[in-house]
Subunit: 432 residues, 2 copies
């Protein structure tokens, strides 16, 4: 056996308590915003039959998958994303739900990529989807939700921008220039590379379509003329919500994946790296593709991963401060640490801990006998707000406010009511 | 490509919203109890180097693993449990945390077993562990937490029992009967089978140790004489908490796994099947084993899976009722459904939805134009508490209480404060 490595596998994270707390902050914020928008939570399986991803992609699979044969000889894959599963589940269960179906999932996904800053082999993804509504109002609802998610994290106007585009505008462009229907997906792939590939290389690839880079750039630049009807509806919808300042039309966005069918959008970091924080769009044919045509439902959705948003939060002062305040408030293992001044009073302390815990108070106490000074040190280090001293004055008790080092009196009989109320009060200097 | 199956893989679950809500109920209850006990949350990776599980088990691995080679040629395994990871993480990071470390994890685990009622190939597990405290007070804290978890789910005394045992009692028994140290693990394995194997078969296997089934049974029966000092301390500790009625000494419990070193316990369904709902114990050598001796910390912990506890909740009237009440309260996708009485008022509705959502109210509205009657039907079906009618009286608004079909007046300017307050009030007949 190799000598013990205490590391996780490359690209995998140990969520020690502080990391887990940050993760929980992301999850709570995501969950909170989605629920306020009337979305309900579901979760798809972590492992799926590889055939599901093959159906979604039209037979071509990324090489970057955790794909293996299970003990029953099945070709299975750890989910690289959840939309394929969602389409399967929606096709299977859609009869049980009135349309539109508004669902969200927070789930871990897996891709065998080179680990680097801002990218691991696992990541958590927030997925929000509307199934069964074809109109742009669904896209607008999703874009609004993506904006409100950013605001909920403490980002402000100017920190980020949502770039909206519509593949239908490009389909119209392609038809106008005589590009054959079957060549359009290939053309969209070229457009997707417009900011990454050299104009010469792109020109070479566009030539067979009778197009060149300059024509694409002119089309993108002339937004007013080329905006799709869907974009105009989305713009009006978001304006009614007071969110028009967060979005812009950007026809250079097409998103690489073949399954998008109409409106697509990306949330960008507007201040630094212009990284995409979230992205999504309309995928009206996927449910049909996944179900071999047995169920046909329009759909739209977006996903936000935990890596980029966390980095962006930590780089953005006001968002980082909000996270720190949340962590401070949630860092302590307990609200109250019992200090057992005499070991003979341990049974009394156990009784007090039990009653307070049942009343919803988070309580900790030393599991082994220890000097009082050491117990106070541990209490302070733990971040607890109060130390409750169980000593010879029992049934009288002393509550020490650890931040201000002030002291308050209470007693065993009224303790639970008194302390649950006391926890609601601030710790400033008490009124005389 | 095979024709589309809409099923998940055998043994895997689609958590559609109701299933996801039940899952969230389990998670919230687990998390709530653990936090009240002063435990903090961590999470280990879903995939680990298979060598980690080999080290834990001493080289023998269950055949029931999702084990595969990743793209980098590593022998990796989807976690079948989390204690091996916890020991690794604790060994790696223990210097950063004061002892004892009180940590919990809620995580999905994977075992390639035959799917059946009450067992899948994935399951969620609640793991609670104390690392760095060798005394029975830590075991008592964990046993108390397991009991309070059951009480938090609505179980009552008589529904379940915690059977506590101590491997040290059996070690003393073995030594007393001249069993060699190296034969003790094998003997513990035989004791573990005492309720499943025939006395004849067991006798045959015990003979080489100079023992027979009757001797084991006598030892188990004579609890008063054979209880270990740790049990007596645990019993006194739990009595101080008022929990003595939930535990009993049962030396027939040894738990199969080789890595347990002292006190072990199981939470049993006491009314029907005597299934184990949770189990755990002391594993004082595991951190050292996992870290090749570089870190040595005593440890104790237990795990509760989601399958058995959920079945038990659903079979136990008062626990099932509590779950139903929780589901009812959490089933609605939104608190408030907007009814857009005239499509021209959609911008007003979008503005109202945005303001209410930012104030924390869960709000939904029709994404497509629909007749008012249909919107009310959808609102009622959704389980929303209120329908807020945006109609020609705007800026006056009508709030319909969907359960009582009563109506209240409000207006656009004061709406947010009024409605957030209204949501705190009950829906009984209003006072005149």
């Amino acid at each position: 056996m190799a000598s013990a490595s205490l590391q996780a596998l490359p690209g995998f994270r140990d969520f020690i308590p502080r990391e887990c707390a940050v993760r929980n902050y992301l999850f709570e914020t995501w969950r909170g915003v989605a629920r306020r928008f009337g979305f309900v939570e579901y979760e798809s399986p972590v492992i799926e039959d590889t055939a599901l991803y093959l159906r979604k992609s039209g037979g071509e699979l990324s090489a970057q998958l955790f794909r293996f044969e299970d003990q029953g000889g099945r070709d299975v894959t750890l989910r690289p994303e959840v939309t394929a599963s969602l389409a399967r589940i929606a096709a299977r269960h859609q009869r049980d739900f009135p349309k539109p179906i508004k669902w969200f999932e927070i789930g871990q996904c897996f891709r065998y990529e080179k680990p680097q800053k801002g990218r691991g082999r696992e990541f958590h993804q927030f997925n929000v989807d509307i199934i069964g509504e074809a109109g742009p109002a669904a896209d607008a609802e999703l874009i609004a939700l993506s904006i409100e998610t950013m605001l909920a994290f403490g980002f402000q106007q100017g920190d980020f921008v949502v770039r909206v585009s519509d593949r239908d505008a490009w389909t119209a462009f392609a038809k106008q220039h005589g590009v054959a229907d079957e060549a359009i997906p290939g053309l969209l792939n070229l457009i997707d590379k417009i900011e990454r590939e050299s104009p010469e290389e792109l020109d070479r690839k566009l030539a067979p379509h009778g197009l060149d880079t300059a024509m694409l750039r002119r089309f993108i630049a002339d937004e007013a003329a080329n905006a799709s009807p869907a974009w105009r509806e989305i713009q009006a919808d978001l304006a009614a919500r007071g969110l028009e300042g967060f979005v812009e039309l950007d026809l250079s966005i097409v998103r690489g994946l073949a399954y998008y069918t109409g409106v697509v959008f990306e949330v960008f970091d507007a201040r630094k790296s212009m990284r995409a924080v979230a992205g999504g769009g309309r995928y009206d044919t996927l449910v049909s593709t996944i179900s071999d045509g047995s169920v046909d439902l329009p759909a739209s959705g977006f996903a936000m991963g935990d890596y980029v948003i966390r980095n962006l939060i930590e780089e953005t002062t006001h968002a980082a401060m909000q996270l720190e305040v949340w962590l401070q408030r949630n860092a302590a293992a307990s609200d109250v640490r019992l200090v057992i001044a005499e070991e003979s009073l341990r049974p009394v302390a156990l009784d007090i801990a039990t009653r307070l815990r049942r009343a919803g108070v988070s309580v900790d106490f030393p599991l082994a006998s220890a000097k009082v000074a050491k117990q106070f040190q541990a209490a302070e280090k733990s971040g607890a707000r109060f130390a409750l001293v169980v000593g010879s004055e029992f049934p009288a008790l002393k509550l020490k406010v650890l931040a201000s080092r002030t002291e308050e009196d209470c007693d065993n009989v009224t303790l639970v009511d008194w302390l649950t109320d006391r926890l609601q009060q601030p710790d400033g200097p008490l009124l005389a």
